[in-house]
């Protein structure tokens, strides 16, 4: 019996709308040429966490070439659930045709909720109880108008279908580590629309500490070093942090470049590292080893090592790549952005 879980299909979805960071800066008068990203993806007025998840999931099913009825689990990691009480997973499972014999749940752990769903799916398929398990990380993140987060809080997501490793899987997971502590860097109380963050905690003790420890532990456990990986993907709250954490760990720009999307789409929270992982799979070749490390405030990091398999070359066309999706875009101004994101509240 195989001891590894593999990915049989994946799909990402990035909304078509973009707002430039300088357009946001102009409104608040704090634009000084230094913005954390260039532009970010904005969900359209008829999009939300559920619709983004469905689009990503449909691409994943097309790549997997499986009957959606055989999907036994649909887990969504997010912090932008449209309903406080009513799972998003049921709507997604119904829309992709996985109902009714399916387990669904919404996972919460800020930006690492999607990789938490990975862990659950991997264990499900390895136990043999479920043949195909889908993990989605997606968000329609919101920043308080005028807050620093408003520059980066973006929309997007990705879906991955796990099953036991075989010659039909396009990559398999050879190891995973979770590193978690109680760190008050970022939170949103129930009934509040926008999150709060504690500046003192956002950098070193939060993002860097947890990612460095999850990745170092993973590499130690597996006897691997940075040069054993062809690519690495880190959570991307801005452009600077993933570049800096890669450097601290000994990874090069060439290794992180394919998955570094925050300059063009912003930070889609639980979708951030997963969309980066999807973009990396889009260009990876059989035999390549990929490091994936998420970060979620609160705080924790999940690190995974994946090895790409032969069939990946047959899984590409005609499904658009993440870079293709990023390339199809429409720019909106701040007033349209306010209308789309429901920032006017009576």
């Amino acid at each position: 019996m195989t001891k590894e879980a593999g990915i049989i299909g994946y799909g990402a979805y990035i909304p078509i709308y973009r707002i430039k960071a300088c357009e946001i800066g102009k409104i608040w008068g704090n634009y000084n040429g230094h913005v954390p990203i260039m532009e970010k993806a904005v969900a359209g007025i008829d999009e939300d966490l559920v619709t983004i998840s469905v689009e990503a999931a449909k691409y994943a099913i097309r790549r997997a070439k499986i009957d959606p009825k055989e999907i036994g689990a649909v887990y969504i990691g997010t912090e932008s659930k449209p309903y406080a009480v009513k799972p998003s997973g049921t709507i997604v499972a119904e829309a992709i045709g996985a109902t009714p014999l399916v387990v669904t749940a919404d996972f919460e752990f800020a930006c690492k909720a999607g990789t938490e769903a990975f862990q659950a799916c991997i264990d499900h398929v390895l136990s043999g109880r479920i043949k195909y398990a889908m993990a989605i990380g997606a968000d329609t993140a919101q920043g308080r108008p005028g807050d620093q987060l408003e520059y980066t809080a973006a929309s997007g997501g990705a879906a991955f279908i796990f099953t036991k490793r075989s010659n039909k899987t396009l990559a398999y997971c050879e190891g995973a580590v979770s590193f978690v502590t109680d760190t008050p860097d970022f939170w949103r109380r129930a009934h509040e629309h926008y999150p709060m963050h504690a500046e003192r905690f956002t950098g070193e003790p939060a993002y860097f500490y947890h990612i460095i420890n999850s990745v170092k532990t993973l590499m130690e456990n597996m006897g691997l070093k940075p040069s054993d990986f062809k690519y690495a993907v880190f959570h991307q709250p801005n452009t600077k942090f993933p570049v800096k954490v890669a450097k601290k760990l000994g990874f090069t720009m060439d290794q992180i470049k394919p998955g570094l999307l925050s300059p063009y789409i912003g930070n889609c929270y639980a979708g951030s590292s997963l969309v980066g992982f999807a973009a990396t799979l889009d260009v990876a070749n059989p035999g390549d080893r990929i490091l994936l490390a998420s970060y979620g405030s609160g705080a924790g990091s999940d690190a995974f090592s994946f090895v790409v398999q032969d069939i990946i070359l047959e899984k590409r066309n005609p499904i658009p790549s993440v870079r293709d999706m990023i390339g199809v875009r429409k720019y909106i101004d701040y007033s349209t952005y306010v209308k789309f994101r429901g920032k006017i509240r009576a």
């Binding site: 078509i16 709308y17 359209g44 007025i45 008829d46 999009e47 939300d48 559920v50 619709t51 469905v54 689009e55 449909k58 449209p82 309903y83 709507i91 119904e94 829309a95 045709g97 199809v328 429409k330 209308k339």
Partner: protein, 130 residues
């Protein structure tokens, strides 16, 4: 539209499930129980094509209740590649970006919401193929 009716129509609204006359092959959306062409009551569920082309369209500025925040939006009749004609919104798109014959594909979107506290109605819309 009531919540129970929305719920009954979920398979067709979420996954483009129509009906097909077993006797003459005509397809319908929304699904019908009786064939309009041959009168047969022998119709079966069928998954409709997710691509098609615009037959005719109009921009809505004065919407029915529940659609106010989406204005202006485009409503079109699309002929799917399997021949079924379907009434749908066209999304992610301005009126000057489409014409008769524009190729479109199905996407899953919010259709309508009952204020801040009511249910959210999801379903298909179509979007130009790029």
């Amino acid at each position: 539209m009531s919540v129970p009716r929305y719920w009954r129509e979920i398979p067709s609204r979420y996954r483009l499930i129509g009906s097909k006359c077993v006797n003459c092959g005509k397809t319908y959306f929304p699904p019908r129980r009786v064939c309009r062409e041959c009168g047969s009551v022998n119709l079966e569920e069928v998954k409709l094509s997710e691509q098609g082309r615009i037959i005719t369209w109009a921009t809505v500025y004065d919407p029915p209740r529940g659609f106010e925040k989406y204005v202006p939006y485009i409503v079109a009749i699309v002929e799917l590649d399997d021949g079924t004609r379907i009434m749908t919104q066209i999304t992610d798109c301005e009126p000057d970006e489409i014409q008769i014959g524009t190729r479109v594909y199905a996407v899953f979107r919010k259709i309508r919401e009952e204020g801040e506290s009511g249910i959210i109605y999801y379903g298909y819309k179509f979007k130009p193929l790029k």
